[in-house]
Structures are given as structure tokens and as C-alpha cells.
Symmetry: C2
Subunit: 548 residues, 2 copies
């Protein structure tokens, strides 16, 4: 099977049009019905599959880097009478359980990226809902800052997943109803069980949309609202965007290689080993960094793509091992630059992107190991990979006959808040929830080159082994991991990785997703007589009446 490719650019879009006009951009959904990922599925009524969402994610990303001048984005429909009918049911019904879960995870990450762009990057989103916004269509609107609904007696918002398909809205809809829009629970219950949805004034009264506008003044209202949203932005007006060039990637049998990253694929051992290569010579100032080849940006793009590739195309590789090779001093210099130039709009974007890539890793249901070996360059922002891992092992001392420097690990100010997890805390703060003194001690060690002994004493790594034990300990640990139930590990990791506070994001990705995954494999949804299979056949689904 052709691997799913997450790389695209506006010249290749089949389903979205991106038009930038000064501070306002318009993203128009106009799905090509024949452009579905799965042969034989027709993407009617602006319904989407993963391919459509890959384009949306790309557009959201490019707007941030390539268009500093865009301060507000209007999402609208290119079709009459329909804004977006949500996820395509045929595609969903044909896909495996794993594909369904991965699809929802990616679409959720894209919706959260829209909210991140607004909150942290000053790029506001307006949903201009003209026509029906059903299911994922309404969820897309709900990820925007503001929803304007046309009041034409036909256009409606709805979450018909439960009555139509016996599944849940899978892209954060329920959580955004209760937590973002704070809809009263009995109204939310009515809304989610009413196939035809809610229109006009009632949609406004129930807090489902933020305003309604008659067709006669629709265009002006959208323009005014977009201008008002744009006026709240802190993005620069006169900066020059940086075009993100196509990502270089080579997929081989046993490895996927990028300029700054290599993913070795060991199918027999069921693991992928990602080695990050450090930068050559660091730039000196922020002015030098305004290009797409700047190492942390290039690396973030490659790492993001590698993770998405592994999720979608290598489901049997249950373990991801992170390694690094390079000059710690060069990474430290870039880390300092990312810290000192935080106010530069482009550096801000790189930091925010690195945050999102790390969150993507947190949400990846593979066991994550970090190996900190001689010659590594885990420093500051790059060391977040160590703290994102389920376990981190460090080589103590050096190897006989190996002239690479002894393994060290270094912290920087960026490890203490620049890249919050979904729970709003840094990885180190989450790690040391029960030992605030350890967090303090770690912060006192900023910039030191920590030996394995230091790192273990500070609680930064799980264990340290010297040359005598390293190979065996690492091998045994990885072999044991590969022997466990993949499902059990998914559930275990989803619980242990996210201690501490909950946010809308953790609720969407933890609570809602877990319930959705549960329902996605229940016979009432996916069985032969289940609703997903029956949809469109004219047959009524058959339900086992027992409540669980």
C-alpha cells in the first residue's frame, strides 16, 4: 500500500483554497468528491477524510510561518447550502480501528493547532457558517474563536453522530460544548441527539454559535467580524514571511532519512530508532534565523513528519527510541538564541512549533525511550525529547576505543516553561509534581554539562549504566517492552504521561478520545448490524440493548 504522505503545499491542494489579502486570509473548503484517500468513497457535501485534513493542517501551519501579515483567518465553504458535513462516513466505515483512531487524533491535533494559532500566535479564526455544519463540520467551527451563522431558515449546526451513526463526535465536539462554549448540559444532550440540528436564534440562545446574521448583510458582517478579530492580533504588520520548502525525505526498507534526522526501522524488534543530528554552525543573531533552513525549524518539520509517518504507516513498530548525535555546544548556542529572541515573531513560531511537535510525541501511542550516549547533543530544548520519553537511560562514562566525548545532558531555561505539555505544565514540572525541591535543584543546574551520575542524582533520567551493563540492560528493557500487550501499553501510557492539571486539550485527547475509541470497536457501531455499517443502506442498525 502507498504510505500516507503528510507533506503537501497549496499548489497541490485539492480541497481547500487559501487566499491571503492583507491582514485577512480566507480558507475555503471545497472538497473534490473524487479526491478521497480510499478508492470508491465519494466525498459528498464537503465531507472530509484524512487527506482533506492534511491540507487544512498544512494551511494552518503555513499561515503562521509564511504569512506574518495575516491577523485573522476566515474559514468558509465553497459550496452552496453546506458548510461541511463532517467526516466522511464511507471512509470511516472502511477504515480499520487503528486508522479511525489515528484519523481522529490527527484531526484533533489540527483543531488544537487552530486554537494555538489564535491564543499564542495572534492569528484569529472566524467560522463563517453558511449552510449546514454537521458533525465534524460543526466541530471545525467550534475550534475557531468565533462562529457566525447565517440566519436563512435552513443553515444549521448539528452533532448528529450519535443518532445517525452510534458513535461520538470524535474531534472534540463534546468537550468544546461543555468546556469551551459552556452549553447547559440538558441543552447539550438535546443538541447531540437531534439529527437535524439547531438553527438561527435558538443556536445563539443555546450558546452554540456566537452570532447570527441575515443573508442580506452576510458579506459585510463577516468582513466586519474578521476585521475586529484581526485588530486584536499582536502579529507584525510588515514582517516578511518565510516559505516552507518541500521536505526532503527518503523512504527505504529499513530507514526513513531526512537531512537532520534518521529513522531506523527494525521490524523484527518492533521498534523505530530516531537519531537527531545536531547543527553544524549556529547562526549568531535572530536576523540570521529567518529562513526555513534554520536548524530547529528544519528539525521540527522533519521530526513532525517522521512521527506522523510512523503513526500512520508503521503501526507494528511499538517502540520509538530517541537518540542524538552532535555538538552540545552548537545546540546550546541555538537554545540561547531561541531564549533571547523569544519576542521575534519568527522565533516565537519556531518555539510554538517545537511545543506542538513535542505534544504530538506525547500523544503518540508508542512506547518512548531516550538513550543518552557518548557523542549525544541533548541540550535545552532538544533535551525535551528525553523528558517526553517514558524512560530515559544514560550511558555512564565512555566506551573503550570510542573517542567521542562522554555522555552529558544539559538543561536550559527553556526546559522550565517554554514547551508546556497539554496539561499546561513543563515536562520537568510534571515529572517532579511530588518533589518540588527536585524541580528547584534541576533549575540550579541549568547550563551545567551533567554526567550520568549527576543526571541520575537530579532525577532527570531513569537509570544510568556503564559500559559493562549498557548493551544488555538496554536490550533487555526494549525486548521486554516489545513483549507486552500493545493495547495495554497504549492505555498505560495515556494515563501515566499526563499527571497534574487537566485542560480542555487533555480532556479531549484523554477522556473523549478514550470513550470514542471504546465505542469505535463496539458491535453497536462497527458490527455487521451496527450503525456505521448500516448507514446509507436503508437498513436500521441492530443494537444490543445492554448498557455497559
Amino acid at each position: 500500500m502507498t504510505p500516507i504522505d503528510f507533506r503537501t503545499d497549496p499548489s497541490r491542494y485539492r480541497h481547500w483554497r487559501l487566499d491571503c489579502n492583507g491582514p485577512i486570509a480566507t480558507l475555503t473548503l471545497d472538497v473534490d468528491p473524487a479526491g478521497g484517500l480510499y478508492p470508491g468513497t465519494e466525498l459528498k457535501l464537503n465531507s472530509y477524510d484524512l487527506g482533506v485534513d492534511i491540507e487544512l493542517a498544512d494551511a494552518v501551519q503555513r499561515l503562521r510561518f509564511e504569512h506574518p501579515e495575516v491577523h485573522a483567518v476566515v474559514i468558509g465553504s465553497g459550496k452552496d447550502n453546506v458548510f461541511c458535513a463532517g467526516a466522511n462516513i464511507g471512509a470511516l466505515a472502511k477504515s480499520t480501528h487503528g486508522d479511525k483512531v489515528n484519523f481522529c487524533k490527527f484531526t484533533n491535533e489540527t483543531r488544537l493547532a487552530i486554537e494555538d494559532a489564535s491564543e499564542h500566535s495572534g492569528q484569529r479564526y472566524l467560522a463563517a457558517v453558511s449552510g449546514a455544519a454537521a458533525g465534524g463540520g460543526y466541530e471545525l467551527a467550534a475550534s475557531c474563536d468565533w462562529i457566525t451563522l447565517i440566519d436563512d431558515r435552513r443553515s444549521s449546526v448539528s452533532l448528529p453522530e450519535l443518532p445517525l451513526l452510534a458513535v461520538l463526535p470524535g474531534t472534540g465536539g463534546l468537550t468544546r460544548l461543555t468546556d469551551k462554549r459552556k452549553v447547559r448540559r440538558d441543552r447539550a444532550d438535546l443538541f447531540c441527539t437531534t439529527e437535524e440540528g439547531v438553527r438561527g436564534q435558538r443556536a445563539l440562545d443555546w450558546r452554540l454559535v456566537d452570532e447570527i446574521a441575515p443573508p442580506s448583510s452576510w458579506d459585510e458582517r463577516i468582513a466586519e467580524r474578521a476585521a475586529a478579530l484581526a485588530a486584536t492580533s499582536d502579529r507584525p504588520a510588515d514582517a516578511k514571511g518565510v516559505v516552507l520548502p518541500p521536505l526532503e525525505r527518503e523512504i527505504g526498507d529499513s530507514a526513513v532519512t531526512y537531512p537532520n534526522l534518521r529513522v531506523a526501522l527494525d521490524r523484527a524488534k518492533r521498534r523505530a530508532e530516531i537519531t537527531v543530528y545536531g547543527p553544524d554552525t549556529p547562526p549568531k543573531a535572530a536576523a540570521d534565523v529567518h529562513n526555513a533552513a534554520f536548524w530547529p525549524l528544519a528539525l521540527a518539520r522533519e521530526l513532525d513528519d517522521a512521527i506522523l509517518h510512523l503513526r500512520a504507516n508503521e503501526p507494528e513498530l511499538g517502540i520509538i527510541v530517541f537518540r542524538s548525535e552532535g555538538d552540545p555546544g552548537a545546540v546550546a548556542a541555538i537554545d540561547t538564541l531561541l531564549d533571547e529572541c523569544a519576542d521575534d515573531w519568527f522565533v516565537r513560531e519556531i518555539r510554538l512549533y517545537w511545543k506542538r511537535v513535542l505534544k504530538r510525541i506525547d500523544m503518540t501511542s508508542r512506547s518512548l525511550f531516550a538513550l543518552i550516549e557518548p557523542g549525544n547533543c541533548f541540550v535545552g530544548f532538544l533535551a525535551e525529547l528525553v523528558f517526553a520519553a517514558d524512560r530515559a537511560l544514560m550511558f555512564a562514562g565512555s566506551r573503550a576505543g570510542d573517542n567521542r566525548p562522554e555522555a552529558t545532558l544539559s538543561l536550559s531555561a527553556l526546559n522550565f516553561g517554554a514547551f508546556p505539555m497539554g496539561n499546561g505544565l513543563s515536562r520537568l514540572a510534571t515529572r517532579f509534581l511530588g518533589e518540588p525541591a527536585s524541580l528547584e535543584r534541576a533549575s540550579e543546574a541549568i547550563a551545567e554539562r551533567l554526567s550520568a551520575e549527576d543526571a541520575e542524582r537530579l532525577g532527570l533520567v531513569t537509570a544510568a549504566y556503564d559500559e559493562v551493563d549498557w548493551d544488555d540492560e538496554v536490550r533487555l528493557m526494549l525486548e521486554e517492552r516489545a513483549s507486552f500487550s500493545p493495547d495495554g501499553l497504549t492505555g498505560l501510557e495515556a494515563n501515566l504521561r499526563f499527571a497534574g492539571p487537566e485542560t480542555m486539550e487533555t480532556r479531549i485527547l484523554g477522556r473523549l478520545t478514550a470513550w470514542q475509541n471504546w465505542i469505535f470497536q463496539r458491535p453497536n457501531a462497527v458490527g455487521d448490524g451496527g450503525a456505521l455499517k448500516s448507514y446509507g443502506t436503508g437498513k436500521r442498525p441492530h443494537f444490543d440493548p445492554r448498557r455497559v
Copy 2:
């Protein structure tokens, strides 16, 4: 099949011994291997099934009402070398998916009741762990205020569910590791994947237990620790406990009846209709209420039992309808008494119990409707049933030829914080998260007899219908609900009921439970080659390696 009965008392315990000795009580687990609920399963090594946990829940409950003088409870084992081996695997493997989920839900509620007894009722719990505390055994210990582990080179704590059985610790273990005990995540990961567990000093260093004690001073250490915990209690020293008599209940084909409650069972329509009968004459003062027949306590016990009965024995009744009949004035008088005598230890217990019964209802995966009709007595604390419902419908005006008073609904101070949900907020505060002004308006209406029009205007009910529409609207709504996927509704309700903040409790019952339910139906756990089926057979489980 004989219905599962949740009623018991110490004279009938087969698995626990309860000994009260002044301020310290001892709860000793000594499971009768032949006393399992499922024929043919042997409850070896102090492993438990639902029957064992029903006794524990009863003991925890009685300690609160019958033993005001008990200020600390020591949970220990009556067997050598084992504290508790957790849930019995044979029983788990034989039970249906629904039974597994219900079992975990009940055991979770019991663990949370232990924590509630400590936090709100001043009855502290000490886990005296001598011998292995494995899986649910460690989870039981983790629900206590303090864990003392004997340091005898053998005794250990462990969560071996994942490596042994390919499932998650299902009774809050993962959440208590991360949130209550704040164990570092890589250590938690190691702990949960190490079958043999952790002993002695390492268990202490890793925050898995609170102290270790050598066998030579074990008894003294436990006695000292129990005394120290008891010293922090605010329970009275000289009050007289109230014995909870056996619950009167009659199970018929079409109804379950209690003195203050009737559950009509309509199997064709897949619903249970619970009618609460109001009190006769209210007592005048707190002194009069110190008996088990006091209406709110008697009602709470009956309602709790009814909910548990429906969960365990009537899985096909997907809808619960709440009604009430009686004198609103009499309920209001009792409500006032519960408010004014909040400092009385027994009234405190009744209020706390009512809180727990309401939470049990919140966590019941059935669709909840409240019907507020002429002759009802939904006032104050009883009106919480209305706010616990997914939808509440109110009859406007009166029925022709019916001389009962027009339906009214009344709020009291108790609706604004006395019975917090798992999220820590009152049901009204949760309801009005998006409209704080509505919460304020509702509080201004305390004590008023609100008509259907008033209640609808204040946002307290979903809809009001007069005589012309009532029967049809209610019928259609309930019929429609019964037509939806039971699984979809379970997931929908689990998400919409709990807006706002998260707590350890909501994380256990929302996030962890959802993942556990997911894993509980995956072939890797329950399939023919899955770990639950393979356990004890000598065969290795076969896992589908694909990560989801």
C-alpha cells in the same frame, strides 16, 4: 440467575472481619476461597470478586454511621505472606464486558468512599501491608491515607496487571500513582511493568508507600501510626452510633419496592421509573433524627440499593426516570433541618451519604430523566435528582380532574454546594458554567415554589409542557432515547455530565475507566489467545502487534 444483592451486614460477612476497639477499628481481609460469586472460581491469596467488595463497602458505610467513636481504621490481612492479590482473575475472565465494567465501577466507588470517609468524616484509613499487595491489593492500600509496608525482604507492592494480564489496574491505581502519590512518571512506568513489584526502601524512595517498618516493631508501629491518624479526627468521642437495620425490599416481576421508593420496571420500553415518596411528618430537631428511620437516611439507603440493583441486574433498562410524590412542605422542613444541623455528626453523615448516592447516579451509565408533575415534592436536597438528570421535564399547570397541587419545584441553600459532584462543583454551578448570572438568579429564588414557567425561565428544567402536550412529548422523548445506541449514549453522557474542573475522582472515573473499558474488549486481553484467557493455562498470550 439470582440477582446480585448488595445488602449485607457484619454477621453475614464471609471475607472481612470488623473489630472496633475504642477509637481504632481493624478491618481484616481474610477471603474465604470457596465464597466466590461465580461457581468454580477459587478466591485464592486474598483475591476478591464483587462479593468481597460488597462486604468492604458495607463495612466502610457502617463504620461511619454505627461507630462515631472510631477515628481510624486499620486495613490488614488475615493471611500469612499476602496482603491482597487483587481482583480474582478467574472471576474477571468469566464475566461479561458489562460485568467487568460494573465491577470496576463499584470497587472504584468503594475506594473513593474510603477517601471520602477520611476527608469529610474524620475517619482515617491506614493500610498495614504485610505480605504482597498486588494489583487491586495495592490499589486498596493506595486509597488509604497512609501505607505502612513491612520490611521483611519479601513483602512487596505491585501493579502487575499489564505484564500479567494485558489490562490496566482498574481501580484507580494509575491515577493515584500520578495524582495522589505523585510518583515520577518513569518510575511509575517501571513499577507498572514489573510483575514482581517493589519492596522495602525502594518502595519508600519511589513514593509507593509512606513508611517501612521491620517485623520486630511491626505491631507497635501500626498501633502508633493508627493512634496518630486517629488524633487528627474531628469525630465525637462520646456519641452513640445508629445501627443500620436490614433494608426492606421486595423484588417482583414488574417492580422493586421499598418503603420510601418504588422502581417500576418496563422491559418493553427499556426503562425503570423510580418514584420517591415524601416523608410523613418531619422531626422537629436534630435529636429526633438520630435513628435509621429518619426519612432522608432511609431514602438514601433505598435509592443507593435501587441504583446498584439496576446496574447489576437490569442491564437492558437503559433509561431511569425519576419522579416524586408527597408534601413539598414536609421535604422543605427536613431540608432546613439538614441545613441547620450540619454540625451534628449524624446529620453530617446523612448529607455526605446523600452526596455519594447522587454521585453514584451521576456515574450510572443509563439515560436519566426527571419528570416534575403535579403532586411532586422535589425540594432542596431532593431536587438534586432533577439536576442530576440528563433532561428534566416539568408539567405546567394541573391536570383536569386531578386534585393534586400544581407542579412546583423549590430550591434551598443545599443546592448550592452541599452535594458537590465529582468535579467539586454543585450540580447547579456545573449547569450554569457558561451563565454565572443564572446561578445568581437561581440563588435568589431559594424557598420559592417555582411554577413550570418560573423553572423554565430560570433554566432549571429542560422544557415545560401543559396538559395538551405532556403525554405525547414525554412519550416521544423516551421512545426516541430507547432507540439510540446504548454504547453511544454511555459515551455521550460520560462526557456531557462532567463539565468544568477535573479532580482525581473524575480522572479515575472518566479517563482511566474509559481506557480500561477500551482494553477490556480488545482481543489482546479478552480474545481466545488474549492474556486474560491465557492466564493460568501455561500458554503465552498472542498479541496483535499493531499499536492503536
